[in-house]
Symmetry: C2
Subunit: 194 residues, 2 copies
């Protein structure tokens, strides 16, 4: 920041500089920053969210740009693309084995390493504070939060309401959700506690 230089300004500055550092590290491994982030996203998104359109929303880019990113990842053999049999306009994306392997060399690990040198309290504080800022800005810009199913207002936990057991459910898309599904991120997610 340039002005008042209070703590808040310094935080903005630090985020900016760390972001730049991330980007420069992310040139490694034959991928560019957008491709790294796409790869990470696809590893953690649920099946309704592994599409070029959802990726575009996540990256804050256009569909065209996201499409190019996906094509590049497919050329490198890290991502698999197939048409959805139910809606034949849609494309379903997924990581290949090579894609998952590649993620083990994620440059972001270096950042996680640096973070883990902090005390546990400091880590929790950082995580909470950054998450809060991100949430605020996303709301402010009308972006989706991309949280996980189990924190979503459309999430119906197993045993709730009528059905006594069976899987959890998404009452927006009206589908069953496995335990694993519930921990993945989703385009449609809306924070429960609001």
């Amino acid at each position: 920041m340039t002005d008042g230089d209070g703590t808040a300004g310094r935080i903005g500055d630090l985020i900016d500089r760390l972001g730049r550092l991330v980007r420069s590290q992310e040139q490694a491994g034959g991928l560019n920053p957008a491709q790294w982030e796409a790869l990470r996203y696809l590893a953690r998104a649920n099946r309704f969210s592994r599409s070029p359109g959802a990726l575009a929303e996540f990256l804050g880019s256009t569909k065209g740009t996201a499409s190019q990113t996906v094509l590049a990842l497919e050329r490198k053999g890290l991502v698999r693309r197939e048409r959805d049999p139910d809606d034949r306009r849609a494309v379903r994306l997924g990581l290949t084995g090579a894609g998952r392997t590649h993620l083990r060399r994620d440059p972001l690990r270096e950042f996680a390493g640096a973070a883990s040198a902090l005390t546990k309290e400091a880590q929790n504080g950082l995580s909470a504070g950054l998450g809060d800022i991100l949430g605020q800005l996303q709301r402010h810009n009308g972006r989706r939060p991309f949280g996980t199913c189990q924190h979503c207002r459309f999430f119906q936990r197993r045993g709730a309401a009528k059905q006594s057991d069976g899987p959890h459910r998404c009452i927006l898309l009206d589908v069953a959700l496995s335990e694993a599904d519930s921990g993945l991120i989703c385009v449609e997610q809306e924070e429960a506690s609001a």
Copy 2:
């Protein structure tokens, strides 16, 4: 992050996403992200550090790229360039009035705004934690810290050593430093406490 997903991993992830958000906001105002960061840097760097080379180090880019950035800012009338009369290879940079005015519309203010919604403790924690991570990574990558003079090991406070009064001094470059100078960032800075 993709794996263990501990708090540390989540922090890396958040930094990445916030960084991307910064970048997308920084397209505003007719400048690109690198230009915004250069403008901010030049507003806060001392006179030994307002050069294309120092800027390149700060941005983590090459001299060529930094040179282009500076040229672009000069074309827009935000930065002034002049040759140093003492070392005629060197170029000294500075903001114009328009440059300072432009900084008032810094998109990073939005982030500072979001940060200032946090409690004072949370802000201090964030600032300290992020600063720590940045410092670690800079050391690890052999980058300069770009701190301010008064925290530098070459800083000699007024009244120290022989000279009883007069200005502070930089004992690396052997020059006088005003009070204002001492709060500016410097390429040559090395943290005092190590």
